[in-house]
């Protein structure tokens, strides 16, 4: 009887495991491709020199080093800007609401439902002379700021507003309260948001590909070139290079409290 009661739990866990395995299988095959003998794949356009795993990776880094740097630069601009734009607003919506603040809060989530290609096209058309790098950053921000607004907003809701009120009543000014009460309390949420923004911006393709010029390719756009022109071992190695920073970020997100991560996602 007990065993019968327990089967749904076991079956449910099995279903979760099955899903994880199904999602991981193609990644595992790809990873294996980067570490198997590249010779097995016969004649390849990259030549015989790219025949073992170290050579594959150095070939990828050599070919796409520029795109990697470009992606790193975009992410380095997007993460702080997304936090600076999103976090103060998220706090204001909860603690200092003003006429129209609810409307602005829901407007902040609208970009998530605007197709990236459409926004990229609109950005090029509206600001043709604007530096492409900053158009790229703007496009990335449109899809990351909403995540910050959501997850920081949820975090503000979870701590007691009286903590801030007490600080004020003890004579702390607005700045001091922010620095010594609000920011420390929001720190975990801010770190999680930063990781989330990083992961989304690093993988962004829809906006980046249209806005990219040959000199201004981000790494996901470089992945497209690799997938369409290189042999499988090189494409596999490039995929692993792409995943290298994402996997630690996701693990950190889980370790810091995956629940917050989930609440930050558009729901």
């Amino acid at each position: 009887m007990r065993a019968l009661r327990r089967w749904p739990r076991r079956a449910g866990i099995a279903a979760v495991a099955l899903l994880a395995v199904a999602l991981a299988t193609p990644i595992a095959i790809t990873a294996a491709g980067a570490f198997s003998h590249a010779d097995w794949y016969g004649e390849r356009s990259e030549g015989a020199a790219v025949a073992d795993a170290p050579a594959l990776f150095s070939y990828v880094l050599e070919t796409w080093g520029r795109a990697l740097l470009r992606s790193a630069a975009v992410v380095a601009a997007v993460v702080p800007l997304a936090l600076l734009i999103g976090a103060p607003a998220a706090w204001a919506f909860r603690r200092r609401p003003f006429p129209g603040s609810r409307l602005l809060e829901s407007a902040a989530l609208v970009p998530l439902a605007v197709p990236g290609v459409a926004l990229a096209f609109a950005l090029i058309q509206s600001a043709p002379g604007f530096p492409r790098f900053w158009l790229l950053v703007a496009g990335h921000l449109a899809y990351t700021v909403p995540l910050v607004v959501k997850s920081v907003g949820n975090a503000v809701e979870t701590f007691d507003p009286r903590l801030e009120a007490v600080a004020r009543s003890l004579g702390a000014g607005g700045w001091e309260t922010a620095r010594r009460v609000t920011l420390p309390l929001l720190l975990p949420a801010l770190i999680l948001s930063a990781l989330l923004v990083f992961a989304v911006s690093w993988g962004e393709f829809n906006v980046s590909f249209l806005l990219a010029t040959p000199l201004l390719q981000t790494f996901p756009a470089g992945l497209y070139a690799t997938y369409t022109t290189n042999s499988f071992p090189v494409a596999a190695a490039a995929t692993l290079v792409f995943l290298a920073p994402v996997v630690p970020a996701l693990i950190a997100i889980q370790a810091l409290g995956g629940e917050e991560f989930h609440r930050g996602l558009p729901a």
Binding site: L19, R96, F121, R162, F205, L223
Partner: protein, 271 residues
Amino acid sequence: MTRRHPLGSAWTGVLLALPLLLFLAAAVAWPIAGLAARAFATNRGAAFGVVLAAGRYRTSLVNSLALSSAAAVVSVLLALWPSWVLARERFRGRDLLRTVISLPLTFSGVLVGFLMVVLLGRVGALPKAIGFLTGREAFVGAAYTFAGLFAAYLYFEVPRAVVTLESAFRRFPRELDMAARALGAGPLERLIKVALPAAAPALRSTLAVTFSASMGSFGVALILSRRFTVAPLEIYTEMTGFLNDEVAGALCLLLALATLVVDRLLSAGRR
């Protein structure tokens, strides 16, 4: 609470939200309004007629709508049980499984397309494995068919649905669940009779999230699409291949409009 500066506090709020307002106005509202203004001004909006007349453009929009709706519904259905288990059960390895499941959320579309080629391409792993086991390869090149494209959409939509639903199931009051359990309902029964009705708003918003993501997805189709075309792909082709900015602009607007309308309808009553 902090009522010391009643007037000042509202202004603080405005000041803190100002960067967001300016950003949304400059980087989202202004470009899209400009796009719309130009599309209506050139030839009195003739491009809309071109796009909506029977042909490749309209087909791409209809395809996008159909594919995204189907992907949203199927991914939510597939995500129901795993997300419920992740939210409710404690077991060893749960965090690891959740990390693996959330991994595809960060993948760009081209990567998903590539993974599908690895799995189901002309020399895909699955056809080879089947060939090895049975002597006859099956599903050769399936990645490039409609089924392959659909599977690729599910690959990034199911994780999105799992993650969104899990957070909804977590917020769902435990007492209801315990009451149902005390009345003798099994886990599956509790899911269907208690949790799902309570989670209906979350289900709708999950449908909205997955639908919007599919409508905007571009990289998967760029890698996999052969005969079946979707709107983002047509926009890209018109823009870079034919330099046909008017048609591309009209397609952009119609695609964005369709996505926003469905998104709003599904999330109505939640905000």
